[in-house]
């Protein structure tokens, strides 16, 4: 069973996920973990609502003037001694990183967790170009060994058990004693630390993502709990930070705001263990730090999302609260979506990157309960944006599902009252038949008993004097 799924096969993927007993057990942890932690962390923040409103406003301001802030950011990075590169697409971004590595004479690359590099598929081409590329976030490292995509945007190995990890480490770390005991979590973490420490110390290039880009100072902000971003961006002689253009914040006070909400929304932490700001390469006289610092600014569909109908999705700070509170994600996990960003944020964001034809199932994979937007720290109207993509899907005729056909039939009938009434009469006996199309539809839904007499008949009845 491959973890790499196709979003076009979403309904089949979900059936497979629902029948996967170990996965279902793992998914139970969402409620007891992420949801409770978040709730507890918000207790000491009675100002939560005004902070969410302020973050939405700060991001909106950044987006409304994005060309200005991007240019300001670029100017300041250069003033700090760094370099800025611009990539329209995934392939341009990959080519830029590969060129930087080649020109710097790099052999070994360590990477800190970055969803953007998953989105553009950075690792495989770099390895093809002859570089060693090692993921250093523990979860990312595990799934790299297993050749799987992440299943959660902040907990990439969420779907795996300890036994899976033990097995992967035994298969990969053949230089270690095959009889060693690595059945418990502590020894697994210790072994990963030891193996990866050597990789950090040997690497020439560290690649990180970016949690925020601060325009007024030309600063890249990174947060981790493990410290892997810090080792990646400090020890190797070159640091490349790769970031979506929407990561811009105008000022440091906006960063304070984002940090207050990011950790709490994500994992219920006031502050992730390590929050680090990189403003340029090492200065003359600095004790350590990279000799060269590059920022790669990536568009890859984002400028198209700037249109009014979808702009708010670019406020996203990738906290994963929407996934953690989504009943669909909690039922099927991340892999079933078959895209980089699962859950509500994926349904709102991924169509812009992968096209609506490939992803039209995702905005439909929602009960529209709205929990995602009630917890989103940036107040993104996720359901409205999902509806937008649904409409686009129908409009483009890509969603020729039974639902779409049924809706078209309904629309036709609704415009022809006589036909409608006749159809209703005919349909009534079929409503509760244990076979046929209605039975299929009722399999996962409650159908209330059909009332005696149609709606129209009842209205007419009541009007009678």
């Amino acid at each position: 069973m491959s973890a790499h799924k196709n979003p076009r096969q979403f309904p089949a993927n979900t059936r497979e996920a629902l029948a996967n007993a170990p996965l279902q057990k793992t998914l139970e942890r969402i409620k007891l973990g992420f949801q409770l932690f978040r709730m507890a962390a918000m207790q000491e923040l009675p100002e939560l609502e005004s902070l969410r409103t302020a973050l939405a406003a700060a991001k909106d301001r950044a987006l409304a003037h994005l060309p200005h802030y991007l240019e300001q950011f670029e100017k300041n990075v250069i003033a700090n001694g760094g370099q800025v590169h611009w990539a329209r697409s995934a392939s341009e971004a990959i080519a830029i990183v590969s060129r930087i590595a080649r020109e710097a004479g790099v052999k070994r690359i360590v990477k800190s967790k970055s969803m953007l590099t998953e989105e553009i598929g950075l690792n495989a081409p770099l390895i093809r170009d002859g570089f060693e590329v090692v993921e250093t976030d523990l979860g990312e490292y595990i799934i790299q060994l297993r050749d799987e995509p992440p299943s959660h945007i902040i907990a990439p190995a969420f779907h795996l058990s300890r036994a899976d990890v033990t097995q992967s480490f035994r298969a990969a770390h053949t230089h270690l004693d095959p009889k060693r005991d690595i059945d418990d979590r502590k020894s697994l973490v210790r072994e990963a630390r030891q193996v990866l420490r050597e990789k950090f110390l040997a690497a020439d290039l560290g690649i990180t993502g970016a949690n925020a880009l601060i325009a007024e100072t030309g600063t890249v902000c990174l947060v981790t709990n493990e410290g892997n971003a810090d080792l990646s961006m400090t020890h190797p002689r070159v640091h490349v930070a790769i970031a979506g253009i929407e990561k811009i914040l105008p000022a440091m006070d906006d960063l304070a705001l984002q940090l207050r909400l990011l950790g709490r929304s994500a994992s219920g932490q006031r502050m992730t263990v390590y929050t680090s700001l990189r403003s340029g390469p090492r200065k003359a006289g600095d004790a350590d730090g990279p000799e060269a610092f590059h920022v790669v600014l990536v568009d890859n569909g984002r400028s198209q999302l700037m249109r009014a109908e979808t702009r708010e999705v670019l406020r996203c700070i990738r906290c994963a609260a929407c996934l953690n509170h989504c009943p669909v994600y909690a039922s099927v996990g991340g892999h079933a979506y078959g895209v980089t960003y699962p859950g509500p944020i994926g349904a709102a964001f991924q169509p812009a990157i992968s096209g609506i034809a490939a992803t039209h199932h995702l905005p439909s994979a929602s009960s529209f309960c709205g929990r995602c937007e009630s917890v989103c720290p940036a107040k993104i109207p996720l359901t409205r944006i999902m509806r937008h993509w649904r409409e686009r899907g129908f409009g483009k005729g890509v969603a020729e599902t039974p639902n779409a056909i049924a809706l078209k039939l309904f629309a036709f009938a609704a415009r022809h009252p006589r036909l409608f009434r006749a159809a209703m009469k005919l349909a009534r006996p079929f409503w509760h038949l244990p076979f046929g199309p209605m039975a299929k539809w009722r399999k996962h839904r409650n159908a209330p008993p059909a009332p005696a007499g149609s709606f129209v008949a009842r209205v007419q009845q009541r009007r009678k004097p």
Binding site: R185, N225, A287
Partner: protein, 206 residues
């Protein structure tokens, strides 16, 4: 057209502006937890350091701090001391510690001095510099972090303003507890890549 021009043009086509907003300052509300001062700030900092799974120690002076370190560090091994003047110049030998100045990947224990601390989050704040290697806070297994009580700031905005006032050092680190990972079965394990143990020693200057 270059990629840069293309991206900027696409943004402009979709309604984004290339001039700054008329009023440049955003009014960001400061929550009550980020406004504590003096004794209140210290109490919050102490509580949050402990919550972050770090050890919290008060030391009346440098010598007390060195004794606390000697009591906890692995015996018979040198300790890596960050070359920051304030701590590199202390009489480590007098406290029975073999000091090795500089960050070291080979020594299990290391000491560095924080530039400031934050009551709002229980974080330590470190600025990189000529005598302040970033790796001093990440390489050791046991990290002893000294911080002066008088440098504790109320909140994140104050800390970021301080970094700006220092002309943005090339690296600024906020550290809140020892390194950890929840990546295996969503269960916390300490010491993923950075220190497994963090000992925060507050020098009680007034």
């Amino acid at each position: 057209m270059s990629a840069r021009d293309d991206i900027l043009a696409a943004l402009a086509r979709n309604g984004a502006s290339s001039v700054p907003p008329a009023n440049a300052v955003s009014a960001s509300p400061i929550p009550a937890i980020a406004t504590k001062r003096d004794a209140e700030a210290f109490a919050r900092f102490a509580a949050l350091v402990k919550e972050s799974l770090a050890e919290f120690v008060e030391a009346p002076d440098d010598y007390a701090a060195m004794r606390e370190i000697a009591a906890r560090a692995p015996k018979s091994l040198p300790i890596a001391i960050s070359p920051q003047k304030e701590i590199a110049s202390l009489d480590w030998a007098g406290a029975g510690i073999e000091a090795r100045i500089g960050a070291s990947p080979d020594l299990p224990a290391g000491v560095s001095m924080a530039d400031s601390a934050i009551a709002e989050t229980g974080s330590l704040l470190f600025f990189s510099g000529a005598n302040s290697p970033v790796l001093a806070h990440f390489l050791p297994d046991i990290h002893f972090a000294l911080v002066r009580r008088s440098t504790i700031l109320p909140g994140l905005n104050d800390a970021l303003a301080l970094a700006r006032a220092r002309a943005m050092p090339s690296t600024v680190n906020f550290i809140t507890g020892p390194s950890r990972s929840g990546d295996i079965e969503q269960t916390l394990e300490l010491g993923a890549h950075g220190p497994r143990q963090l000992v925060v020693i507050v020098l009680m200057d007034r």
